[in-house]
Symmetry: C2
Subunit: 155 residues, 2 copies
């Protein structure tokens, strides 16, 4: 049995899942609280993708707690395949959402100056914080995805 950092059913895996869940929730909460987020479809997509990441990471954190309490081994082919596919799909969606929102942010702040013209209706600083948190959440999920893929390839 391999013992990589972030493996499922390990304390490091649980810490990684909780961190993903916290950063994705923070990004979702900050974006939802920003005024005028519904003006851009990408920001709504970011909320949906972060919601998916929260649900996925929370579910896997619960699985890790269950495995740690009962000292179960999660390193079998079926479990690792499901976790790897789920991790990759969620990671690609999170990166897509974070990048599209970042692209829209650049249009709002630099290319069209909408932010400086209508700073009363659009809270651009809050959007930026949410996008930064989404990138951190994606990075943590990408680490999990690589670990899952490595474990699946070497099992």
């Amino acid at each position: 049995m391999k013992s990589l950092f972030g493996s499922p059913g390990k304390v490091s895996g649980l810490v990684l899942r909780i961190s993903q869940c916290l950063f994705a929730s923070a990004s979702l909460a900050v974006m939802s609280s920003a005024s005028g987020f519904s003006t851009a479809t990408s920001f709504c997509f970011l909320i949906a993708a972060m919601g998916l990441e929260v649900l996925w990471s929370f579910g896997l954190a619960c699985l890790d707690i269950h495995a740690l309490r009962l000292k179960k081994d999660l390193h079998n082919h079926i479990v690792l395949s499901l976790l790897a596919i789920g991790d990759w799909v969620t990671a690609i969606l999170s990166l897509a959402a974070a990048c599209s929102s970042a692209g829209v942010m650049v249009v709002f702040m630099k290319d069209t100056n909408i932010c400086s013209r209508s700073h009363a209706t659009l809270s651009c600083d809050t959007f930026q914080i949410s996008v930064a948190l989404a990138f951190v959440a994606w990075f943590l999920l990408a680490v999990s995805s690589y670990v899952m893929f490595w474990l699946l390839a070497t099992i």
Copy 2:
């Protein structure tokens, strides 16, 4: 020696690299020929990312031709590590560029209606074709990246 589809130094690998190169070049050429692409930073980022993908894939296509002609084996740890890291960095940059451009496209076409108001200065249909080609180029590069990572893990 593993013989996966798309392995370096194989005919399937060469076909995959040439396809990546062609789609990335097409995306770059279409975006560069569109009027008003410099209005959005994301479109310039797409051109840079597709340029990087063209250079990377073209270089690896040449390496594949060299290995096929001299019947060299490229399956050693150092070559595979370098190819895997390069593929992953290029794939993440391509996806980021394609997604940010897609986000900007949605802002231009749906959220702000800039496209319908100024269709003389912005060729929005051309932008869409370029973004679609960039997604195809990214998908082909993602296939290579997974193959490299799998070969590296199982070598």
